[in-house]
Every structure is written in structure tokens, then in C-alpha cells.
């Protein structure tokens, strides 16, 4: 994570060191949850890319998972509110497109939380898959590999709809991109 620490002036109160201020700002922004997958923070997802403090202004950089992700506006607003509630007065949230988000940025902790929540986490690395290839996804409930894709598209842009033949439950799979 390329955190830029080139700030000239720490936020007030002055008893905090600048590094502390940055760490505080990062922690506050990082704790904001994805409104559509509330068990994951935007840090778990890799949506929070960077926090900068420059001249007393805190700027958080976030990146959308999908171009049309409808949660981005709410995430931006929630980050802004969280930082302001934590005492940062001059706050800006900027959305960046590059580099493009990939499930490779999802933390291992995030993947474990997803599975515990009943969503199969993205499998493996987001390499170039064959256009018409098959994939095997384990059921997040019973662990069986005897599963089938119902639809490439699920309840949100980032998920696909699968079902388990062993326990007969439907489940979401967080698509690997």
C-alpha cells in the first residue's frame, strides 16, 4: 500500500505526531464497511487504496470494484462522515480507476470473513481465464465441491449465483476478476 506521508502539517491537536495522524486517518477510513457485503471493510476488499494528509487536508482514495458499482457513492459518503466524526475537518474522498481493482487485493482475513458469512470467496488469482472455461467453487456452507453455477450474475455486480448439490443450498460466489 503506497501510503504517502508527504504532509506538511499535522492535523490538530498538535500533540499527535504526523505519523499518528496518518495512522488514525487510515484506521478510520479502513473500518468503513461495504454496504452490500457488510462483513467486509473497504480495507478487506482492497477498495481503499491510499490515504494522504497534506496541508491539514485528509484525502482518501477509493476504487470501484465494477464500473457500475452502485455502492461507491455511499462508500465515499461513509468514509467522509467517518473521518469527520473522528475529528478531521478538511476531508476529501477521491475515486480512482487505475490500477483496476482486482479480487487479488482482497485480504485473507476478508476471504475468511466472506466464507463465514456464506459467500464463497474468489478462488485463486485473477489470471486470464479461458473464455468458456469451467471452474470449481466449494460450497461455503458444507464445503462440498459438488456445486453448480446457476448464473454468472448474482445479487450484486461482484457476485455470481451458485448452488450446492450436496446440501441443496443456494449460495453467492464472489467472482474472481
Amino acid at each position: 500500500m503506497g501510503a504517502v506521508l508527504t504532509f506538511d502539517q499535522a492535523r490538530q491537536p498538535a500533540d499527535k505526531s504526523r505519523a499518528d495522524a496518518w495512522a488514525d486517518a487510515w484506521a478510520v477510513a479502513a473500518a468503513v464497511c461495504d454496504p452490500e457485503v457488510p462483513v467486509l471493510t473497504i480495507e478487506d476488499l482492497g477498495v481503499l487504496r491510499e490515504v494522504r494528509i497534506e496541508n491539514g487536508r485528509v484525502e482518501a482514495f477509493i476504487t470501484p470494484t465494477y464500473s457500475g458499482c452502485p455502492a461507491m457513492n455511499l462508500i465515499a459518503l461513509n468514509v467522509e462522515v467517518a473521518l469527520e466524526e473522528a475529528g478531521f475537518t478538511n476531508v476529501k474522498v477521491t475515486s480512482v480507476l487505475s490500477p483496476a481493482w482486482t479480487t487479488d487485493w482482497m485480504s485473507e482475513a476478508g476471504k475468511a470473513k466472506l466464507a463465514a458469512y456464506g459467500i464463497a470467496p474468489p478462488k485463486g488469482k485473477a489470471g486470464r481465464r479461458a473464455l468458456f472455461g469451467e471452474e470449481v467453487v466449494a460450497c461455503p456452507r458444507c464445503g462440498s465441491a459438488d456445486t453448480a453455477k446457476v448464473s454468472e450474475f448474482g445479487s450484486t455486480a461482484c457476485k455470481a449465483h451458485w448452488r450446492c448439490r450436496a446440501c441443496a443450498e443456494p449460495f453467492d460466489y464472489f467472482k474472481c476478476i
Binding site: Y66, S67, C69, S98, P99, V150, S151, E152, F153, K175
Partner: protein, 251 residues
């Protein structure tokens, strides 16, 4: 026309994405099965998301203070530069899937190539869109195979959809003066370089689907110059209704 090639190239991509995204949104609540209702809405969401990034950037490049909403909602029919293909009506499910496959089979490799654009913003938009379009190709390709290689009725409809829409596929490769300038500046890839990948995908799907590629003498064109089919006015009336009726409305 004094608009520069970067603005025009960006606007065309934005118009394609918006108009096709809008067409897909018309399926909401009407798809044959619930899963497909979700899928079509998701495909549309990807395209409208891409359109937002592209329109925002087009507005910045243009430098006249127009934002994404003004470009999407406040232009007249003749000012839209989208492909005729994307404005064609949804028809039956086979028509929608065929239209989507023709578009995605071209746009996926196009975005892959545009990741190397000399313009960093277009490259960034392409890097996101490429991943999304890969899903669109796969989903629509699988459907066309299922329809074409399905029952006699689904085969008949899939072939009819292909016969109807194939004449609009030539416009994907059209290069006019503005486009040539954008290609030479390295903003967008040359569509001729995309053709082998497009052909490969289409040939693969049609072979599996037992469908025949239509032979046409001439392709339809005109969308890039703002000359649209009769369907476009109705589409815009629906798309722009709220903004025209309640200017500057937000929610």
C-alpha cells in the same frame, strides 16, 4: 465540427455503452427467468457504469462545463454517436443475446487493446471495462450456443436474430476521419486490429450453436454520424423524459 478526436472517440464509446445499457434496463422485470433478469440488469449496470466514466471524461476533455448528466440526458438525437446496433429494439430473448454478443465480442478485445492507450484515462477505463466485457462475452456466447443448439424453435429464432442483426455488425469496424485521427494519436485501437479476435469468438460460438453466419452485400451505417434508425427517438424519449420534464432533478 470543431470537436477534437479525443472528445469524439470518448463520446462514441460513452454513447454505445449508455444506449445498450438502457436497452438492457428495459428487460428489468421481464426476463424469461429470475436469474436472467438479474444477469441482464448486471450487464446493463456494467455498461452504464462505463458510460458514466466515459461521459465524465468527455466533458472534461471538451472543456465547456458539460458533465456526465448533461451529455447523457440533454443532447438531441442527431448528436448521439452510437452504433445502430446498440439502439435496435430488444426483440425476443435471442435478439437481445445476439445483439449483446456482437457488441461484446468486439468490445472485449477493443478494451484489452485500449489499455495501451496513449491517453491514461481511457487506458484506466479500459482496464476496468475489459474484465466486465469478458463476462458479457461468456454469458451471451453460452446463451447463443444454448439457443442455437437447442430446440427447433430456439434454433429458428436464434438464426432469425442473427440474420436481422448481422448487417449492423459492419459499423463496429467503421473508421471515419475523426476516428482515424484518434487512432493515429494512439487514443483508441484500430478496429481492423480487433477483427481477428472478433471473428474468432463469433466463429467459435456460431459453430457450437449450429448457426450460419449471414452473407450480406452491404452493412448498415450512420450512427457514428448521428443518423439513427427510427428506434432511437423513442429510446431517447424514454431515457431523457425525467430530465426534460423536471430539469436538474436529482434524487
Amino acid at each position: 465540427m470543431t470537436d477534437g478526436p479525443l472528445f469524439l472517440a470518448t463520446l462514441r464509446l460513452a454513447d454505445d455503452a449508455l444506449v445498450l445499457g438502457h436497452r438492457l434496463s428495459e428487460w428489468c422485470g421481464h426476463a424469461p427467468v429470475l436469474e436472467e433478469d438479474l444477469a441482464l440488469a448486471n450487464l446493463g449496470l456494467d455498461l452504464i457504469g462505463q458510460a458514466r466514466s466515459l461521459y465524465s471524461y468527455a466533458g472534461t476533455v471538451e472543456g465547456r462545463g458539460r458533465d456526465e448528466d448533461q451529455l447523457a440526458y440533454l443532447r438531441r438525437e442527431g448528436e448521439y454517436r452510437n452504433l445502430l446496433l446498440v439502439e435496435q429494439p430488444n426483440g425476443d430473448f435471442a435478439v437481445t443475446m445476439t445483439r449483446q454478443l456482437l457488441f461484446s465480442a468486439f468490445m472485449h478485445p477493443f478494451h484489452v487493446a485500449m489499455k495501451a492507450s496513449s491517453d491514461p484515462t481511457l487506458a484506466a477505463i479500459a482496464a476496468k471495462a475489459e474484465k466486465e466485457m469478458a463476462y458479457h462475452v461468456r454469458h451471451t456466447g453460452e446463451w447463443l450456443i444454448r439457443l442455437g443448439d437447442g430446440t427447433a424453435e430456439s434454433h429458428r429464432r436464434a438464426q432469425a436474430a442473427l440474420d436481422e442483426l448481422w448487417p449492423y455488425s459492419g459499423e463496429l469496424f467503421e473508421v471515419d476521419e475523426a476516428m482515424r485521427a484518434a487512432i493515429e494519436a494512439g487514443f483508441v485501437p484500430d478496429p481492423e486490429a480487433i477483427r481477428p479476435r472478433f471473428d474468432e469468438t463469433i466463429d467459435h460460438v456460431l459453430a457450437e450453436a449450429t448457426l450460419n453466419k449471414p452473407k450480406v452485400g452491404a452493412f448498415q451505417a450512420g450512427g457514428r454520424a448521428g443518423r439513427h434508425s427510427e428506434h432511437m427517438g423513442f429510446l431517447l424519449a424514454d431515457l431523457q423524459y425525467m430530465q426534460r420534464t423536471y430539469p436538474n432533478a436529482t434524487w
